[in-house]
């Protein structure tokens, strides 16, 4: 259930940004969530319904952008798609644990008015 804490933090940051910009209302909130971040999009959506209540994000739309995991092979000096934390390079078959993308837990943007 740490999705609740993560979502609460997203709403907190969105509201903070809205207030700093002098906006009255949050129209949408866009998150960027890596495939290997440990956060489950469905659980985030569930948490969203709870945490936005009573805030200026109450009627906002939630968009979750999923980020595929990408590993870096030092031998080939190139990236490859991966599913895990330790992966075999499809070119040289060396193992790499150098994850370049896929762990994101970010708030990307908000739409305000």
């Amino acid at each position: 259930m740490h999705e609740v804490s993560i979502m609460a933090e997203a709403v907190r940051m969105a509201v903070e940004a809205a207030q700093a910009a002098g906006a009255q209302r949050i129209i949408s909130l866009r998150l960027r969530i890596g495939k290997l971040s440990g956060a489950v999009p469905e659980a985030l959506e569930f948490a969203w319904d709870v945490v936005r209540n009573g805030t200026i994000a109450e009627n906002a739309r939630l968009e979750i952008e999923s980020v595929a995991a990408i590993c870096w092979c030092a031998t080939c000096q190139s990236e490859f798609d991966c599913q895990d934390f330790l992966n075999e390079c499809p070119r040289c078959h060396n193992l790499s644990g150098d994850l370049r993308r896929g762990r994101e837990l970010d708030i990307a943007a908000v739409e305000l008015e």
Binding site: M1, H2, A8, A10, A20, S37, I107, V110
Partner: protein, 267 residues
């Protein structure tokens, strides 16, 4: 609950050492716009591109700087419920007595049973009950640490809430993350919970005394551990019989020496 931004959720019912802590209410929102608010509300997009873990990560770095200045070695012990964290920490403290002084911060959803068990080892213990929150965060640890006399502690052990998912994302400011895998819970745990096992610097196979009875496949478990926690130091031990504890204790003493030689990092 902070009405302004709904941030109180998840923080409201945390108790540290028996005292309730209100969730921080003030966030220092900047309000200097230098213009009036009469403009019509036209929708606009604002790129933020900020990590949702930013606040926790910042507090964790504060903790780390503070712990280093105090010359502490700090462990964050994580596992599934019941893998043996409390028993393991208690035995570690008992066996280090006379060499290193251990202090414990222990997190559970409810009850202070674990704190009571740890206190029987004659060590300082602060219980955090998190209520509904499934992990410890850096803020809870900093408040709990303030209640311990850290000048009388060499190794600060933080027992996290029994959970292999959520604590993985929360840096507490520890030096080492220690993940436990007991012989009674299945060899494929590292494959099922890769973020947690991947983030650990130390992996401990516990309850080795029960391995035979549980039909534990040691080779498979170690292979899975090495696959996911490929950079982690691995120990196999039993907190009950003491088998394998020596290697772990020697490792801790060495790590503590290393942490003493280190200077406080920039905060």
């Amino acid at each position: 609950m902070c009405k302004e931004c709904g941030c109180g959720l998840g923080g409201g019912d945390v108790k540290i050492g028996g005292h309730s802590h209100e969730h921080d209410q003030h966030h220092g929102h900047g309000h200097d716009h230098g213009h009036s608010h009469s403009h019509a509300p036209a929708p606009f997009k604002l790129d933020l591109n900020r990590s949702l873990m930013e606040k926790n990560n910042l507090l964790a770095e504060h903790n780390r700087g503070f712990f280093r200045a105090k010359k502490l070695l700090v462990l964050n012990v994580v596992s599934s419920p019941g893998s043996g964290k409390t028993t393991f920490i208690r035995e570690t403290a008992v066996k280090l007595a006379g060499k290193l002084r251990v202090g414990v911060i222990v997190g559970d959803l409810a009850t202070d049973n674990d704190a009571a068990r740890l206190k029987t080892a004659g060590i300082p213990v602060i219980q955090i009950t998190t209520g509904t929150v499934c992990h410890l965060d850096a803020d809870m640890v900093s408040k709990a640490a303030a209640q311990l006399d850290l000048d009388k502690v060499d190794v600060l052990v933080i027992e996290n809430v029994g959970n292999l998912v959520c604590p993985a994302d929360y840096d507490l400011g520890e030096d080492l993350r220690v993940v436990l895998l007991s012989t009674t819970e299945g060899e494929d745990k590292p494959l099922k919970y890769p973020p947690m096992f991947h983030s650990a610097q130390v992996a401990i196979v516990t309850k080795s005394d029960l391995a035979a009875a549980a039909g534990f496949n040691r080779e498979l478990a170690l292979a899975n551990l090495k696959r996911v926690s490929h950079h982690a130091e691995i120990f196999e031990l039993s907190s009950k019989t003491g088998e394998g504890m020596k290697a772990w204790l020697d490792f801790l003493v060495k790590q503590r020496t290393l942490s003493q030689q280190r200077t406080a990092g920039p905060i």
